[in-house]
Subunit: 222 residues, 4 copies
DNA sequence: CATGAATGAGTTTTCATTCAT
DNA sequence: AATGAATGAAAACTCATTCAT
């Protein structure tokens, strides 16, 4: 797998709604400005995001989502075939957005140190701007209700990331070993920090995030 | 909080069952060899552990647990007041065991590098011997159904760990900064590796775990 | 307590549904002519009345009520928070109706003999028109599932009745002694007759009811 | 039906246990002094009496009765075929005792006024000495779980009482009309007073009971 | 005999989904 | 298209009864 797989990410997003690549690619960009039909769909997805993040998939009744979204319970089923379809659409949307954010215009030719900085910064941006989405993605990683498309999306970020690590290893700038280890380390540190902040043990200030980035680099540098 | 708080961990384990500290302390040690009265309780806790780990609290119906445990559905309520009481007992049992495993006879006077090795090794032992328990603890960290006792147990491991980090920082052997950052980094790397293995991206061989430990040390060393 | 407390009765009726006094006052009058939204509620209350009267609160499963009411079991919980809330609503409704029937436009200045006749007649009317309601009220008098509001309603009929007895005693027309004794006697005779009819030992003809009224008067007259 | 039907009462008591008339007749007299096997049966019946009186048949779990009786849950089923059999045995025991108390050596040739006094006094004795039994009998009068024997027992007291009323009517000492009316009146007054005392509205002092008796007599006298 | 742990049918209650309006 | 009342299947939990000890 290589960097260019990034272009497939958007195609998988919101897969339950539209199947066309180009449509899918543009759909979420214009999400906030869509009109008739779209605003309710957005409201539902937003309410679902918050509730799934706080209470989990099985812990969130559909009528509660409807109430929070300000729509009728039946309306949800006009936009999504089922609760499962909804959680998959939501997962694909946010995993897709995260993937786009991270991979779009990624500096292919920067130094590994610089690339880590870019990756780290973008992930932190996502965490800051969409904390509930991050929590949702983290909590629903491997729910049995996720379909193949959702699972496949995971790889679209992991794949390019692994490629970058391999390239850096080839240059001797990152430790030798399975690249998955170092990706797990970097992501693990980030997730560790974020979870510590959720638990109230830590505040995610820019300084602390920078500190975390430094740790991540030291963890993987050769 | 200091290292000696470790002795309180056992006292909190299985709190819903016995209240006496000494009893609680010894109860789980003999769990596998318990007499007739306890075997069903053990079967229930074991079935619950597997199912909660795979499907989550809300995703696991009581009758399914009963079937997996080989008991009647009503039997579960002879041992636990409610499904919530069961998940709390389970959480406290395993968090307590993890705490004991990590903290018992911890080398207070070893070097930070050595202490990290010991911590890392013990955590890996737990992951290897009780993978479902680790998954369960990871997934149920902050469920709204956890009671005060369960939440309090969390701190009994975190507390001592933070103390060690502070001591090492004072000696200039670990980076300066909030100790929570470095604890989150170490744990994050471990959890990252374990999750990668769950996802099938990595096999947790001794070599890889050692690699992870090296990363963890580099991440936090001064 | 005086006669005017009667105006509070309606306010307490159906207290679980509406809180406004004026609304509550008029709500049950139009009960039989309610619109689409209320017909199921009425059907549930009617089915519950019959079943609770025949089999008691604990002896009546919710699905049986649902079947008798011609609704789904879940529907009952759209109208009542719980089975307990339902029995309380039912109790308050009928106790309220009985209170209204007895106290509305009661002849404050008639002779005690005439007042007894009026009270007796109205009670008999209630028994004739709502035999199941009378049975229900009689059987659920002091169930532990009744809430404060239900219990309080009891007093709104007893209070005025006691006042009338006291007034008549002051005029020397009713025996001296605690007024509660004579109220118990009058009500006891009525309930005795009704229960005898339930047992099949007696038919509640107008003659027999008149006979009972005569007994009641002789029982309490000075 | 005449007075001599009284001798059949005992024969029906505890019918579920023994069928022989003589045995049945003597069984409850010696109840408190019986030994092996009997004491547990008594404990069960006593616990059941209290619990059924307070919470009703369906509101009383068998395990709770067992606990209150100080026996194992299974033990109850060594003495009674089922919960229904138990409530019937209990009903028959106490209805039988009440019948015996009222009818044994009843003054057949006394004046109606004197006979009422005797009846009233004996009923009051029962209420005073066995308040829970009275409450139990009152509450379980016509439960659907009562069998034919239990229902039949009712008549063994009512029958003789009606005979006495008829005799008194023939002498012109009690009002003309269906004797059931006057029996219902007398019993109704008594039950009314007792229920008022349960509700806390009245204390059953000797004076008040005498007052009640006076009311009862006035209610029925010609 | 006596027990009380065990059970599954039955209870109350919830909830994903449908459908008449 | 949108709704939310209605539903029944399934959830959590209870309890009358059994049976191994």
């Amino acid at each position: 797998m290589n960097v260019h797989s990034a272009i497939h990410i958007s195609a998988m997003m919101d897969a339950n709604r539209e199947k066309s690549v180009s449509e899918a690619f543009s759909s979420y960009r214009t999400a906030t400005s869509t009109h008739s039909g779209g605003s309710k769909r957005e409201a539902i997805l937003e309410a679902a995001l918050l509730l799934f993040a706080e209470r989990g998939f099985h812990g969130t009744p559909v009528p509660l989502m409807a109430k929070k979204a300000g729509v009728g319970a039946g309306t949800i089923y006009r936009y999504f075939e089922s609760k499962e379809a909804l959680v998959n659409a939501l997962y694909q949307r946010w995993k897709g957005r995260l993937g786009e954010l991270v991979l779009t215009d990624f500096q292919l030719d920067a130094s590994p140190r610089e690339q880590l900085r870019q990756y780290w910064t973008r992930m932190c941006t996502f965490v800051r701007e969409h904390p509930q989405a991050f929590k949702f993605l983290e909590a629903h990683h491997h729910g049995p209700y996720l379909d193949e498309t959702s699972r496949a999306l995971e790889m679209s970020i992991l794949g390019p990331a692994l490629t970058f690590i391999e390239l850096a290893q080839a240059k001797g700038l990152i430790k030798a070993g399975p690249p998955e280890v170092f990706l797990a380390a970097v992501n693990g540190i980030l997730v560790g920090l974020v979870k510590a902040s959720w638990a109230g043990n830590l505040e995610l200030t820019p300084e602390i995030l920078a500190q975390g980035e430094a740790c991540a680099w030291e963890a993987i540098r050769a």
